[in-house]
């Protein structure tokens, strides 16, 4: 009579999955904290140039983006670089009212701290960028940022 006789059939015991939700929740919280909602759909091609000495923008709420690049929908809009403000393609002349628009929405104390970030495709030429900068100067939006991705050191 063996004392250590196995009960039952001897298949592998079932693994407890009770901690699985905890692991998944942990992942979930990680992603909720480290990511942001996608706020605008891209209407222009946008591959950022790379730079070594980039700085992180701390206050995301103060940043407003000007996207520049070739339109995705080249059949309708051609292949000349275009500007995208918020969710729609725009012209140079729309920039000033756009700046006034986000100024109105901002807190009064923060108006001077607002940043216009130029997110331009690396294949565009400086002509359109210069025009945008002139428009921004005219509405006294002096704080700008050239978006670039970090080049590995």
């Amino acid at each position: 009579m063996s004392r250590f006789k196995k009960k039952g059939g001897g298949g592998t015991p079932e693994m407890s999955t009770a901690s699985l939700p905890d692991i998944v929740f942990m992942l979930l919280f990680f992603f909720m904290v480290s990511t942001v909602m996608r706020d605008s759909s891209m209407k222009v091609k946008n591959i950022l140039p790379q730079a070594m000495e980039t700085k992180k923008i701390k206050h995301k709420s103060r940043v407003n983006y000007i996207f520049v690049g070739e339109p995705m929908d080249a059949e309708t809009y051609g292949n000349q670089p275009r500007i995208q403000l918020n969710d729609a393609l725009a012209d140079l002349s729309d920039i000033q009212s756009w700046v006034v628009g986000f100024r109105d929405a901002a807190d009064e104390k923060e108006i001077k701290l607002l940043i216009a970030s130029i997110k331009a495709d690396k294949n565009v030429t400086m002509g359109i960028i210069t025009d945008i900068k002139e428009e921004l100067r005219e509405v006294q939006q002096y704080k700008i940022n050239y978006s670039a991705s970090q080049k590995a050191k």
Binding site: V24, Q50, A51
Partner: protein
Amino acid sequence: MAGRRKTPEINAGSMADIAFLLLIFFLVTTTMNNDRGIARMLPPMAEEDAPKPPQIPARNIFIVMVNANNDLLVEEEPMNISLLKDAAKGFIMNQGKMKDLSDSPQVAVVSLQNNRLTSYDMYISVQDQLTQAYMELRNDASQKEFAKNYEDLSKEDAKVIKKAIPMNISEAEPVKG
């Protein structure tokens, strides 16, 4: 005391499924926060009746030009982009030694001119090289003064360094291509 039943346990097996569903939803609808870039201040518009700005001596201006073919011309000499950083550092920190380079970092001005057909990629590379030059000089200065990296300085200390080595990058009106 009869009929006091235990509350039945809730089956938590589907909890993982629910959490997975949420996880996938967030993976799809969000993006990683990768807001990096080169910060710059634009100069104010020139007023019409403003007095003429004082003339800057030629030795204090470091002229960087980029043409439509993305070729670099630094102080009238063609240059490879990889050498720009060191050339700029030499110019800024000259302290009056060489007679065609700057008197001191405070008065040194980097003048950047590009063509309307210059590619944005090249423009960012040039800006990046110049920023790197200034940042390395500020780092050196702050190591000397406070034995700390420039980034780790307190606000007041950083101001001292900023005043000693101001980032004077002036952009000229671009040439029509």
